[in-house]
């Protein structure tokens, strides 16, 4: 693996000029784009490679309606206007995947023997993974690779 210094323009896009958005244009986000975002963010590091985050991409009107009653009133308009609202959750039994995800060491046994470690590890590492999901769209993922053959109803762009 080689390491290159990203251009100033890339750093602006990822960090310096990237902004939290509170209102959205009425354009859908393709399921393919959601999958591309996951395929990028999944490489972000977690302790023991535990990957405790679970994501629910709330996209349909039915699913949005299910989410609305749980929101503070001030957040309702932005959730209504966003193409997708993601519930970043964690799996309280994430360690069951460790034999395949961290095969070099029996980390599942560590959590089985110390159940008090599960919740803090799940919360800490799913929070990290949520941050990777914040950064992934800012890379422009979903913007470049499918240009030309996305359905017109889906949007390839995240950045204004």
């Amino acid at each position: 693996m080689s390491t290159n210094v990203l251009s100033d323009a890339a750093l602006d896009q990822l960090f310096r000029q990237a902004r939290t958005v509170h209102a959205f244009k009425p354009q859908a986000v393709c399921d393919d784009t959601i999958r591309q975002l996951y395929d990028l963010l999944k490489w972000g590091p977690t302790a023991f490679n535990a990957q405790p985050a679970r994501y629910v991409f709330v996209k349909s009107a039915e699913a949005k309606a299910k989410l609305m009653p749980a929101l503070m009133p001030g957040n309702v308009p932005q959730v209504q206007s966003a193409a997708v609202t993601v519930i970043v959750a964690h799996d309280t039994r994430f360690h069951e995947h460790l034999p395949t995800q961290f095969p070099g060491y029996d980390a599942k046994a560590v959590f089985d023997a110390n159940p008090g470690m599960i919740e803090p590890a799940a919360f800490r590492n799913s929070s990290l993974q949520g941050a990777y999901l914040i950064l992934a769209p800012r890379t422009g993922s979903g913007l470049w690779r499918h240009v030309g053959f996305q359905p017109a109803s889906c949007e390839r762009r995240f950045l204004p």
């Binding site: 997708v84 993601v86 995240f158």
Partner: protein
């Protein structure tokens, strides 16, 4: 976003109790009208130290 009732989200989306909501995140095409003025950031000296 943290402005939600996590128990209500868990009940609605994770009824078997295995998954627990941490936070919510919106994704979509930005409407520039919904971008607030840039907020300041803490200075290095306020946020960090090198030992």
């Amino acid at each position: 976003m943290s402005g939600f009732n996590p128990q209500a989200v868990n009940d609605a989306f994770f009824p078997d109790g295995r998954f627990k909501a941490n936070f919510l995140l919106n994704i979509g095409v930005a409407d520039p009208a919904g971008i607030y003025p840039r907020a300041p950031r803490l200075a290095f000296e306020e946020a960090a130290q090198i030992l």
